[in-house]
């Protein structure tokens, strides 16, 4: 048997082109240069803290949403789940006059249970995740408003700022640190840690291998013994876990929670993941890419303010960037899949 009896394998041109983040990094540099020229205050150190904070609030959720997308699924309930998580801890602590940490713990359990529900529904019904999480999205939206009005009489919760454990919980979820002129929110730290852990899991663990396979070829994966449904359920619970972190940040930075908040944010997470190189069809993407996507979001949303433009333009930018990123990704995929 000779090796030369096989056609020589085609190489994927330049290695760099194989990186999912490539398009996002190019985009991030372009956006950075653009606002550096367009807005004088953009380059001030203080602005960096603001941009990073905006990026981190989206970025914390973009990480698990990117993993989920690599695993081949969507979660439209991610945005309101953040609010649900904040509402549960706030209302539980207030109603039970418990230490806020008890509420925070209960909220973690409830939020993870909702993620588990999404995963189980997906594997049991075999319906597209778009439909299932759209259902969860609507149900949670209703529950958030309904319960808050029922219990507190208004659309926002009562302040829990004077309750036991509030100070320590705030330190963990909503403190900030000032270095020189730069104010850095603790969410930035959470974000960096999550990106690092997610990258390690994706690239260096068995679970990561299973995530790529569950999205890129679920039937092939199942045939070689990969527990595809378990992997996907795990991913929904990862989304829930990060929604819990975001929800606690929301609660402890404002003391009160607006029950109607979070609607529409699920798309920002998805946009960050897609700009960061995740394929809508699954099986390809990176956690670092989602961070670059979130950073582009942060720069654009704040850059427009620094440039003193009407913020209405923001959505246009976001949309244009999404289209460009998707086109680039489609091109990358075609190269990667150039079979036969």
């Amino acid at each position: 048997m000779t090796a030369d009896s096989l056609a020589p394998p085609r190489r994927l041109g330049n290695r760099l082109f194989g990186r999912p983040e490539l398009g996002a990094v190019v985009g991030a540099v372009a956006v950075f240069v653009f606002f550096s020229v367009a807005a004088d205050s953009f380059l001030r150190p203080a602005s960096l803290g603001t941009v990073l904070y905006a990026a981190s609030t989206i970025g914390i959720m973009a990480v698990p949403v990117a993993l989920l997308m690599i695993g081949g699924e969507f979660d439209l309930s991610a945005g309101v789940l953040v609010t649900s998580s904040a509402l549960v801890s706030s209302m539980f602590s207030y109603q039970m006059t418990a230490n806020v940490w008890v509420g925070v713990g209960v909220s973690l359990l409830v939020t993870l249970a909702i993620g588990f529900f999404n995963g189980i529904m997906l594997s049991r019904t075999k319906l597209p995740s778009f439909i299932i999480t759209l259902g969860t999205f609507l149900m949670l939206t209703g529950l958030n408003l309904g319960f808050t009005k029922l219990i507190d009489g208004t659309v926002s919760t009562k302040s829990i700022a004077d309750m036991e454990g509030f100070a320590s919980a705030r330190a963990l979820f909503a403190s900030h640190l000032t270095i020189g002129d730069v104010g850095l929110q603790v969410t930035i730290l959470w974000w960096i840690v999550l990106v690092a852990v997610a990258t390690w899991v994706l690239l260096r663990t068995r679970a990561g291998n299973w995530i790529f396979a569950s999205g890129g070829g679920p039937d092939a994966a199942r045939a070689v013994g990969v527990p595809v449904t378990r992997t996907k359920t795990g991913l929904y619970m990862a989304v829930a876990f990060c929604a819990w972190i975001s929800g606690q940040h929301l609660l402890f930075s404002f003391d009160v929670v607006q029950s109607g908040e979070g609607i529409g944010n699920e798309f920002l997470y998805i946009i960050a993941a897609v700009i960061g190189g995740c394929l809508m069809t699954g099986g390809y993407g990176s956690a670092i890419g989602s961070a670059v996507g979130a950073f582009i979001f942060g720069m654009t949303s704040k850059g427009i303010v620094y440039a003193e433009w009407n913020p209405d333009w923001f959505k246009f930018f976001l949309g244009a960037m999404l289209l460009l990123a998707t086109l680039l990704n489609a091109w990358v995929r075609k190269r990667a899949e150039a079979a036969k």
Binding site: M1, T2, A3, D4, S5, L6, A7, P8, P9, R10, R11, L12, G18, W200, R204, T205, R206, G208, N209, F212, A213, G216, G217, D219, A220, A221, R222, A223, V224, G225, V226, L279, G283, Y284, R333, A336, E337, A338, A339, K340
Partner: protein, 259 residues
């Protein structure tokens, strides 16, 4: 010698569709059992039962003499039965080495720091493929960039590497040209020579006769014949497959009318 895999009188229905009716088959170590049949004959159903994707309704399924009933592909794999599906063989966007180890990833470290042994995985993939005679320059390329034949070969090499006792191949040559088919058949023979029992699904009697030791013919879910290599020639096999008299009738129909 007991058969590695033995099916006796196996039947399977999908709702009202009777996909298989009273089919028997044997797979022995170091031999190739070919399953032949037209489209919809039930070939894929048969191997899905062996591979643990479906369960049989009636009949018996034995592995080395012991009756089994696989609830999942994982269980079949644990019994040493590896399956290579024409279109399900690999995850195209993943690198070759990740595909090679998918579902059986070696790990090092302990507790929460348990991680893939990446260097070993890359190296093992390279050597395992080289041992099968496949020389890839870069095991990091997405497996989708390989040709169809190469992908089949990687999947076969994987089964051999993980110590499969039985290798099932669903139409490995269906989408391939003559030359690529030849290459794949060589790896099939290599797997046989390594002592595996092979089940080869095909609707090409010529491919089957080139490598097969036993032949099982299916038509519309029923077994229409079971032969050993000495018992049948290529021409007979071809005729049997096309349904014998059916083919003669067809030939008669297609004949030019006498002027």
């Amino acid at each position: 010698m007991t058969a590695l895999v033995k099916l006796t009188g196996v039947s399977k229905a999908y709702g009202h569709v009777r996909a298989l009716e009273d089919v028997s088959l044997e797979v022995h170590a170091g031999e190739i059992t070919c399953v032949l049949g037209d489209n919809g004959a039930g070939k894929s159903t048969l191997i899905k039962i062996i591979a643990g994707l479906h369960q049989h309704d009636r009949g018996s399924y034995e592995i080395e003499g012991a009756p089994v009933r696989h609830a999942s592909p994982r269980e079949a794999l644990d019994h040493g039965i590896a399956t290579v599906y024409q279109d399900l063989a690999v995850v195209p966007l993943m690198p070759v080495w990740r595909n090679f180890f998918l579902g059986s990833e070696p790990r090092k470290g302990r507790g929460p720091f348990k991680r893939l042994d990446v260097a070993m995985m890359r190296e093992t993939t390279r050597t395992a493929l080289r041992d099968m005679g496949i020389d890839l320059r870069d095991v990091d390329q997405p497996i989708g960039t390989l040709s169809g034949g190469q992908r089949q070969c990687v999947a076969i090499a994987r089964a051999v590497h993980f110590g499969a006792k039985v290798l099932i191949l669903d139409e490995p040559t269906a989408a391939l040209g003559v030359r690529q088919s030849g290459v794949v058949l060589k790896y099939v023979a290599a797997a046989r020579d390594a002592g595996l029992g092979v089940v080869l699904i095909t609707h090409n009697p010529h491919h089957a006769h080139l490598v097969g030791d036993r032949f099982v013919l299916l038509r519309r879910g029923t077994m229409t014949g079971s032969y050993t290599r000495d018992g049948i020639t290529v021409d007979e096999l071809t005729r049997e497959m096309a349904g014998g008299t059916d083919l003669e009738a067809l030939a008669h129909e297609l004949r030019r009318p006498a002027p």
